[in-house]
Amino acid sequence: MTPLLVAQIVLTLFVFVMLLNSAAVMVYVERKVAALLQQRMGPYLVGPKGLLQPLADIVKLMFKEELRPKAADWFLFALAPIISATCAFAAFSVVPFGADTTIFGWVPEGLRLQVADVNVAILVVFAIASMSVYGIVLAGWSSNSKYSLLGGLRSSAQMISYELSYGLALASVLVVANSLSLTDIVNRQAGAWWHVLPRWFVFVQPLGFFIYMTAGIAETNRAPFDFPEAEQELVAGYHTEYSSMSFAMFFLAEYVNMVTVSAVATDLFLGGWHGPFLPESLGWIWFLLKVAAILFFYVWMRWTLPRYRYDQLMRFGWKVLLPLAVVNLIVTAAGVLYFGA
């Protein structure tokens, strides 16, 4: 076992554990920010400032009874949350989150802060995102409940509609960066224009960033696009019949998906780990700060905007977002052709 191999195994486990933790932290942040926006206290009883609340929630979920509807398809009912959680974790595996490091000279070859270095990384993220719809659809179908089925159908229609805009927003970044590897895309964004404005793709592709974030929120089924689990209409949508840890897995998948979408947005549009004041080896701090900012934006959106109507969602997706994304891609391609990359 070379130091590089050991370091990579440790890194993989570390990313896995940190993603699990990020879900717990996001639950706490979500409740605290919601309380802040609604002038409430939020959780404050368990631990100092309610910091141990996620731990209490996890313990509560673990000891709840695992219920299964009598008419459910037991195999798919058990499989659906596993698909959701697996896809959520798998998507993060190709996301780089820092420059190469030697860990104080212990790994002479240099360890890349990324679980798997794939040269088509961005497409892998897209492929896994398109697979994660199965978890929700199957959960809706196998529960054998009308609310679940409607939630599952809505989710598949929504994800298919917004995947197109999502993919086209990714494609316009690819055209600018001239690469499919996320590491290359981040490295193209190093430095600054006129020593002031960082060379982030969000300044080249503002419309692309808007489309990416809108479609990303729709892909992760978050408010204002949380139709698969619209409480007032569908009880809890696709996970109505789930309880205990299988419910927790859907919950976990939702938060991990949010983290992945934010991390990919950071890599694609916000310059990844590049930033002023810090040396390259501490770039991951910049990365974390940017991801945290986008996640805060996510939570902020949820507690600010009301849910759209379903037909509004579909009309917006097909008649506004998709044409915008196509025009953006064509203009970007023409610009790259005219000015050079």
Binding site: L123, F126, M131, Y134, V137, I160, L180
Partner: protein, 170 residues
Amino acid sequence: MIAFYLFGAIAIAASLLVIAQRNPIYSVLLLIASFGALSGLYVLLDAPFVAVIQIIVYAGAIMVLFLFVVMLLNAPHEETEHDERVHPLLRRGPMRFGGVLAVALLLELVWALTKRGGESGAFPSAAVSSVRDIGRTLFADYAFPFEVTSILILVAMVGAVVLAQREVPR
């Protein structure tokens, strides 16, 4: 090599189970599993781009629509007018039809393998692994078939819209 046999075995087993299943939802899921295994084989062939496209296009887009339709039709079991105790594949009609298909497939396989001499040298490995080369080949050497295919798909789309539209709005 172990990975090749593993993915190959999964692909073949899943494909066989697709036709052996009575529940169409399971058939769809097994077909997805088969596509996943095929994409694993592409990775082993050093063509990650093709592997990912296989997942995005087939497993991610087309099969979602399949699943959607099957769920909306809500047909949990095949409609059978024959004896329920006999497996549907073991009845006379399907067996004759399947037999003809199997013989045809066998002949085709034998013909294809003997013609190429078992080794196909059509694609140099670099052409399949690099996205840039695939794009160049597709839009330069094969531009005409590519455009014809897109017109074919457009015609199919228009046809689907026309068929789905119940009455012409005035």
